[in-house]
């Protein structure tokens, strides 16, 4: 396997190639401490470091990037972990000045990516320090990051295994009388103890769920349908598992309707092949569910997407809908989830993280694809 330093050099090289094509001499890549499952962290991508405050990576068209981060006391950790030679730290109030100062050595024209996360106050200070607003860097970083490297796929695979452990704990520990937040706490603690840094975790319980939501103080009852969206993060990379657990033996109706989700997921997997549009996955899933008479429930407000790019935050193919256009490529990672509201049973969930390979989608999550249940 390629070592991380070489891997990062290649990632930076791809961005520098894109900069040259776009006529960008120097690029300011901004990110902050709000990590997001659906937004790519470009500093993580290019420096393999998760920052704890507003920070910027300055990328020249040639040569090594510089990292300017906040807060100052995080410098020691950064110097231990970041492979770059030029790493400095400043207080947030001095960040704009430090970025502008570092940008002086960058070739023109200067561009900025990260306006969608840069707080207004920092932007104003930065433009003042730079003597004007830099050009929009657009997708110059994102466009180079459609596919994951071997190291990245390994981390996503590890996150997928952690998600499997989380769901195993959920099935073992769920019991009548416990509160939703207690069950979610067990799930999270289990995943943390297996290496998870974070979790985009949603869970709903009840006899008839309408959608997935935040956990509340509701107590579990016999017959409850527990739907879980489990998304641990390992070394900055996410994987997702969606499953349904019933406290009590499922009814014939619940089994029948869950079979629909299983068939829909299989159809979605079959459509996930390199060279095909991601919209094909959504169409395949919706065709199965629509054919059973639930076409209207495949649209808003009931359903939104049939999956999305996942791994390093929001990456191609982004949201998987019938209107989505990206073509699938090998080494893309994504979640395919035919989660579905069905009037007779309520909302049920099924979804897995996959990597697109030459032959099609390969599941990284290993939890059995079936309707789970346990004695109440």
């Amino acid at each position: 396997m390629v070592d991380i330093a070489s891997d990062l050099q290649r990632r930076v090289g791809r961005v520098q190639g894109a900069m040259a094509q776009a006529g960008i001499g120097g690029l300011i890549v901004f990110y902050g401490a709000q990590h997001n499952m659906l937004r790519m962290d470009p500093i993580l991508l290019l420096a393999d470091y998760r920052v704890m405050g507003p920070s910027a990576l300055l990328v020249p068209r040639d040569g090594a990037p510089k990292l300017v981060l906040t807060p100052t006391w995080d410098l020691a950790r950064a110097r231990e972990q970041v492979k770059l030679k030029d790493v400095t730290a400043v207080e947030e109030a001095a960040l704009a000045g430090a970025i502008a100062n570092a940008a002086k050595s960058l070739p023109q024209s200067l561009a900025l990516v990260g306006r969608e996360v840069m707080p207004l106050g920092i932007a104003r200070a930065l433009y003042r320090e730079l003597g004007g607003e830099p050009m929009d860097g657009g997708d110059v970083v994102k466009a180079t990051a459609n596919t994951r490297t071997e190291i990245e796929i390994e981390r996503i695979s590890k996150a997928a295994k952690i998600a499997d452990e989380g769901f195993r704990a959920l099935t073992e520990e769920a019991r009548v009388g416990m509160r939703e937040y207690e069950l979610a706490a067990i799930l999270d603690a289990t995943m943390q103890s297996h290496g998870s840094e974070d979790n985009f975790g949603l869970m709903s319980t009840g006899p008839h769920n309408v959608a997935i939501r935040a956990v509340s103080d509701r107590k579990l009852e016999p017959g409850d349908v527990i739907v879980g969206e489990i998304t641990p993060c390992y070394r900055g990379y996410f994987a997702q598992l969606c499953r349904t657990l019933i406290l009590g033996e499922p009814t014939a109706l619940q089994r029948e309707k869950y079979d629909l989700l299983l068939n829909a997921e299989r159809a979605g997997f079959a459509a996930a092949k390199p060279g095909l549009p991601s919209s094909g996955i959504a169409k395949a899933v919706n065709d199965v569910i629509g054919a059973a008479g639930y076409g209207e429930f495949c649209r808003q407000p009931y359903m939104r997407t049939r999956g999305h790019g996942l791994g390093l935050g929001g990456v191609v193919p982004y949201d998987v809908t019938e209107d989505s256009s990206p073509l699938l490529e090998t080494d893309m990672t994504m979640v395919i989830h035919p989660n579905q509201y069905i009037p007779e049973t309520g909302y049920m969930m099924l979804g897995d993280t996959v990597v697109i390979e030459k032959g099609g989608a390969r599941c990284l999550t290993e939890t059995e694809q079936r309707l789970f249940w346990k004695e109440a």
Binding site: Q34, V51, P119, L120, E180, A185, Q192, S193, G195
Partner: protein
């Protein structure tokens, strides 16, 4: 607490109406509307995101678990809550807010323009709070483009002053968050032992925090050789006998935060560590002794700094000697040498001393409420805790 923020609030999200009744929020909106009228504005927009959401929660009790939310408060009439959620999420959102009119948005600039135009405020005077700190500049550019005739004024300072004075229910909520943190840390001696990873130990502490109903928690740690260097997010280092474990924790429950810190020793503490911890504890005591209402925030920091060796003081100052705490994990006033803030009566603060020196590390902190003549800790006071091998 300055740290890496999780991708969403993991804990139980519900509204304890006995602790924080609807009348509390109604009274706040009435006060906000008086301030709006006094400032000559037509309405205020209170913006918040998953990291800093105090402005939105203050008026609505709604906390964005992911992304952002905005409260529209007109000078008269009912407020509107805009949240970056889906239509199907509105019923769940309504369980934690008293606002009747909850609107999901996909793109804030477009939907905000629609709201202000419908309210007849496309040419109005609008005060904004939280925009400088949290609103992405890309959204601001689009908002200005969509609403070119609105007169915008930053009213953040006015709202900060209102939020600084904590009401009894708020102080009780912060106290409860402090108790959750203390109770979880009381278990730490049974969890911190050679052979476990820091992440495994914190997972067990977090389980306790979450089982107590917390909706969020943040941890910064330094173990072994790290203790002499800096705090950091939870990592996978395996604890060994003789390790120092420096741990700071912030807990949020019912939207209110509290923060504390502890220093643990896996084995017997060296004289150097004892001395460092005593110095840190003494600096915290000095800060507690001077903290009171109408007192300069910089004087509190100065009291802490004066009790420390200059080199250690510089390091402690980098973390900050403390700040306001409440609906945001970090809010005004700021306790630093440069601060011009004055501590309000009934302000809640975290006072903190994090010390690194001679390869050792120690941390101590307290969440307090500022009274007329002194401050009152809302949680347990900390000491150096030796964990027998």
């Amino acid at each position: 607490m300055r740290t890496m923020h999780s991708v969403l609030k993991h804990g139980g999200l519900y509204w304890d109406r006995e602790l924080l009744p609807q009348s509390l929020y109604e009274a706040r909106v009435t006060a906000l509307q008086a301030a709006i009228c006094e400032s000559g504005d037509d309405a205020w927009l209170l913006f918040g995101d998953i990291e800093r959401h105090g402005n939105v929660v203050y008026a609505t009790n709604f906390m964005p678990r992911v992304r952002s939310a905005l409260a529209f408060v007109p000078k008269s009439g009912a407020p509107v809550l805009m949240a970056n959620i889906g239509l199907r999420d509105v019923p769940a959102a309504k369980t934690i807010t008293w606002i009747e009119d909850v609107r999901p948005f996909g793109r804030l600039p477009k939907d905000l323009a629609g709201l202000l135009e419908k309210q007849g405020l496309a040419n109005g005077a609008i005060g904004v709070c939280g925009f400088e700190e949290s609103l992405p500049v890309a959204d601001w550019n689009a908002i200005q483009k969509n609403l070119p005739n609105v007169r915008w004024t930053d009213r953040g300072a006015l709202l900060r002053a209102m939020r600084a004075i904590k009401q009894p229910a708020e102080i009780e909520a912060i106290r409860r968050a402090a108790v959750i943190a203390d109770n979880a840390l009381a278990l730490a001696p049974s969890l911190l032992h050679p052979g476990v990873t820091v992440r495994q130990a914190i997972a067990a502490i977090d389980l306790q925090v979450r089982n107590a109903g917390a909706e969020d928690a943040r941890y910064l740690v330094a173990t072994g050789p790290q203790a002499g260097v800096s705090l950091r997010p939870v990592d996978d280092r395996v604890l060994v006998a003789g390790d120092t474990v420096v741990l700071t924790i912030a807990v949020q429950a019912q939207r209110y935060w509290a923060e504390t810190a502890r220093t643990f020793m896996l084995g017997k503490a060296s004289p150097e560590l004892r001395e460092l911890h005593e110095v840190a504890a003494s600096a915290l005591s000095e800060m507690i002794a001077v903290t009171k209402a109408d007192f300069a925030a910089r004087a509190v920091a100065a009291a802490g700094e004066a009790a420390l060796d200059p080199k250690i003081a510089a390091g402690a100052g980098a973390y900050g000697f403390g700040h306001g705490i409440g609906l945001d994990a970090e809010e005004g006033p700021t306790l630093s040498a440069e601060s011009a803030d004055i501590i309000a009566r009934d302000a809640t603060l975290v006072l903190r001393v994090i010390a690194h020196g001679n390869g050792q590390g120690a941390a101590t902190a307290a969440t307090v409420v500022a009274g007329r003549s002194r401050c009152r800790p809302l949680g347990a006071m900390t000491s150096l805790i030796e964990i027998p091998a």
